[in-house]
Amino acid sequence: MPVERHVLVVFPHPDDESFGAAGAIALHTRAGAPVTYLCGTLGEMGRNMGKPFFATRETLPLVRERELYDACAVLGIDDLRQMGLRDKTIEFEDQQVLAARIAAVIEEIQPSLMITHYPGHGVHPDHNALGAAAIRATTLIAPERRPVIHAHAISANREEALGRPDVVLDLADVLDVKLAAIRAHRSQSEAMLAELEKEFNRDPAVRKRGMRNWRQEMYWTYHA
């Protein structure tokens, strides 16, 4: 993996960076590349409140903001920028305005690589909308200054539609960092990790398959 000049990560929810791209981010920060994370919302409408639940609909954004800072510390992200959008509403915002806001950050930090959701393959409407805005943003930049785009796809039909991912990262060296980042998002991950552990303990084959998935991150280079 080449050392990037600067990496820009654009995702809508605190925890997208950890569940989705913690491995890539950790590999980049370890290699010495600065990482800027443009986070769209505070995940205000999340359904997970911790298990047992410790957040309310009204305290959740504060809880998740703290978790986000913790995860950034784990991942070595020292430039976290919040866009102040609201969970579930990104697709209803003026898409041109969103793209312009992201383009301004690209102009400022001149990233060599941008990581975002693959539009149409993010499953959550916020993922699709912000991914599309981020990609649109690059078209507002002079071609020679456009970052390479590694798009994260989580749809069930991703390989059917997009083919095999051209970027496959081996996370063996940073898997512990990825798990620590996910754990930092306690309100969102605790229940799910406990459930996973139960499944893993039930069946060694499931554990083997599961760990193979965890040890890899896949991206599709997007040509805007």
Binding site: M45, G50, K51, T56, P125
Partner: protein, 116 residues
């Protein structure tokens, strides 16, 4: 939050009656419901900072609970409420959590707008 105790919730509903109040009403089965095939589709609705006035607000059931707010020209209804809290800002927060602690429904009342 704590488990709903109807007499305390009823008293609080009475306090919010007959005045303009901001409402947050929401129900969701999760943005990934269809993806995880828990359900055939993701379903969610929310209203945040609707301004309403009811003259009769009632909590009913033996748990999970229902709340009905009767307005001059309509009704507000929520079913599946399990927990409640009167927070430091004097807001009435009610929610329904499933066995995994995930929020399935929320009904909240406040005399000041909820944060955006």
């Amino acid at each position: 939050m704590q488990a709903i105790e109807t007499s305390a919730v009823q008293a609080t509903l009475d306090r919010f009656a007959n005045q303009d109040v901001f409402i947050h009403l929401e129900t969701t089965n999760g943005a990934y419901a269809a993806h995880r095939q828990e359900q055939t589709m993701a379903v969610c609705a929310f209203i945040r900072n609707g301004l309403v006035r009811y003259h009769r607000g009632t909590v009913a059931g033996i748990g999970p609970y229902r709340v009905g707010l009767k307005m001059e020209q309509g009704w507000i209804y929520a079913e599946g409420l399990t927990d409640w809290e009167l927070d430091e800002q004097g807001r009435l927060l009610m929610a329904g959590h499933d066995s995994d602690g995930r929020l399935a429904i929320a009904l909240e009342l406040s005399t000041e707008p909820f944060g955006l």
